[in-house]
Subunit: 409 residues, 2 copies
């Protein structure tokens, strides 16, 4: 059961002029399943992406990086579920490229104008011929209002399709922003693989697209964690179709740049948080705010130490206000000169620890009340400076173990 | 159920001349429980310790460091379960010191000659008056052959007492080496706290004791992990009573120094591995060997990434040869220039991946056979150099979640 997350309605998702989406059943791993999605992008769009830092990155991630670097203008994306094409060596690269070549041929483009994405079981050869055979049906399905179909088409064991959408006014023009994501919940491959795609018809100069993609990822997908396992396939792609009638954004520091980024970040956060809300076995959604740090980096170090601690995560699952586990995680986060006597800890608005010790005014029933909620904010004040950052995560439940211990039958 | 670990017999544990141990029921948290242990050390011993790196270290850890730094000659240790005296601020230091003062008074020693250790529930005031009231009974119980009682006396939710012993010939003299440990399995405090104590009657110059303690810890306790949570109270103390009739060891590089260290390391490893075998919910004991690294540090980085991955650990629990999870953990271990095409992976002697891809000769049934064992060796060859290191861990089971989600009632 996802935490406070319901399926989007197609009518709530704004089409993005210049983007069309088609979905098909290609039988990649199982029959009768929408497992192939094609995204068609009109000429003239700006496209950028950020990808997994995992050195064991999947073949499609390597091909995406190559094709984006070529700079020939990305015109389509091909996304399959059922097979991640990871841990597949040189042969995996050949197969990923084959899907690009096949789609490029049908669209009369160069293969370097296609970005491939795969998610699913790993260390098995990608059945690229099934993808190629499914392309005609996917292309025939292409339409501007198929975002919900795409959100469904990229699901693996996500329990809810994830799509968010908004409109904003940029330079006097109304622009649409729509995105989809998939996340943590892949029983078969037994690996959490995050994919996120966003599109807007706003005009963004190619020169600032990479910065935009990176800043959006840093404020959203790079701030969520389910189990700390960085997948081989994580990909986040941002498309600006440049169709809206406003002056092109050439700097994110301009008023228009800031407005667009803020609007897109709101959607990116919803997409990223939806992954946590639908995390494997999640029963709670937890924001970990760390403030008073010397740098943002050390705030994140502390936040991730808390977010990744199995002891903290099981305490959340149990609704147990086990403050010691949180303080212990702060202590081993790797800040060498941390002074424990300056640390305060809050569960929502309840101060539970002050100056490194239990708050004399703290009553366990207050902590208990907060821990029983489905959404909890943990706030740590480090007393070292003025930096702050937030990470979102979920608890560690029996279902997490069940889902991941389930043999790939 | 611990993994291949049975309770020691008292008759297998060699007394160490110069060390006596007494245990008592002090009612620190619960009645009718051996919760207070006193270790008495004859004058003239060399003592050294290594302690948690957690910045939120417990009060007794801080007092131990102070007292060892004073160098007045450690003559006794006082160890309680039921309360960790961690996250207790200045008041916790006062209470830890009070137990040292009380024991010192009874033994006509200086408080700085006492080392205090606490393990149990955290962020609650140490009931030091109960410890003080229990001292007479513990002292009356003191005897050289009470090592098993001590192993039992420091248990919290360990399911088996942990004690190992051996004799070695050093410089023509027979020396005894005996140690005890406790580990991961504390439902109440909900925090894994590791304590290890070793003693030998070998003669070791005080100048090399710290190096000996550190090297023993590095080869044993610092190479095991249950859940990656570094506790606030971890302590490991080594005592050499200097009673054996051989020339004092003034260098660990001498033949005698090497022989003693090897013999002590064997015991330290057994003590450390016993903690993993009795880890919370453990059903499998797993050695992670990483070889072919550029440095030992990067081998450990990779080994810990594998050992801490919840996805890998649940796969072990499920006996699922899910190779992708292991390779993914290698990939995100943080080695920036790792070349995935040089990596081989073995489960025991079965090569499952070669040059970063699935071994063509690998059959799933072979991997399955190894994964079903209760003891498994994962071997990763990085193909970057000649360094190697090993980390020991256990799997992540439903019982881990149950144990740690159990509310502190």
């Amino acid at each position: 059961m996802p935490v406070n997350l319901s399926a989007p309605r197609s009518s709530d998702l704004h089409p993005v002029p210049g983007v069309r989406i088609g979905v098909a059943e290609a039988g990649i791993r199982k029959a009768n399943r929408k497992d192939l999605t094609v995204v068609l992008i009109d000429e003239g769009a700006s496209v950028a992406g950020v990808f997994t830092q995992n050195r064991f990155c999947a073949a499609p991630v390597q091909v995406c990086r190559e094709h984006l670097a070529q700079g020939r203008g990305i015109r389509a994306m091909v996304i399959n579920t059922g097979n991640a094409n990871a841990g597949t060596g040189e042969d995996g690269l050949v197969r990923a490229r084959a899907t690009c070549i096949a789609l490029a041929r049908r669209l009369e483009l160069a293969p370097e104008q296609i970005l491939p994405f795969s998610t699913g079981v790993i260390m098995e050869p990608l059945p690229h011929e099934r993808i190629e055979a499914g392309l005609p049906a996917a292309l025939a399905d292409a339409a501007a209002d198929h975002w919900l179909r795409a959100a469904e088409g990229i699901m693996t064991t996500d329990t809810v399709p994830k799509a968010f959408s908004a409109q904003a006014t940029i330079g006097g023009a109304t622009v649409s922003i729509t995105g989809i994501s998939k996340g943590a919940g892949m029983i078969r491959p037994n690996m959490a693989t995050m994919l996120g795609f966003m599109a807007t018809d706003a005009q963004v100069a190619p020169a600032v697209m990479q910065q935009l993609a990176k800043e959006l990822a840093d404020g959203s997908f790079n701030r969520v964690t389910v189990d700390g396992d960085t997948s081989t396939n994580d990909s986040f792609v941002v498309i600006a179709t440049n169709r809206a009638r406003h002056a092109p954004i050439t700097s994110l520091d301009s008023a228009e740049g800031q407005a667009l980024k803020a609007a897109m970040l709101a959607i990116a956060r919803q997409l990223a948080q939806a992954i946590v809300r639908d995390g494997e076995g999640a029963t709670k959604f937890i924001a970990i705010q760390v403030e008073g740090g010397g740098t943002g980096e050390e705030c994140r170090q502390v936040a991730y130490a808390i977010a990744h601690s199995p002891l903290v995560k099981t305490a959340f699952f149990a609704s147990d206000p086990n403050l010691g586990r949180i303080l212990a995680a702060v202590g081993y986060a790797g800040i060498a000169d941390l002074d424990q006597t300056k640390i305060d800890l809050y569960l929502d608005d309840v101060r539970v620890a002050v100056q490194g010790g239990r708050d004399p005014a703290y009553r366990e029933e207050d902590g208990q009340r907060v821990m029983k909620q489905s959404e909890i904010t943990v706030r740590v004040a480090l007393g070292r400076g003025t930096a702050a950052d937030t990470v979102w995560t979920c608890d560690l439940s029996h279902d997490y173990v069940s889902i991941n211990a389930d043999y790939r039958s």
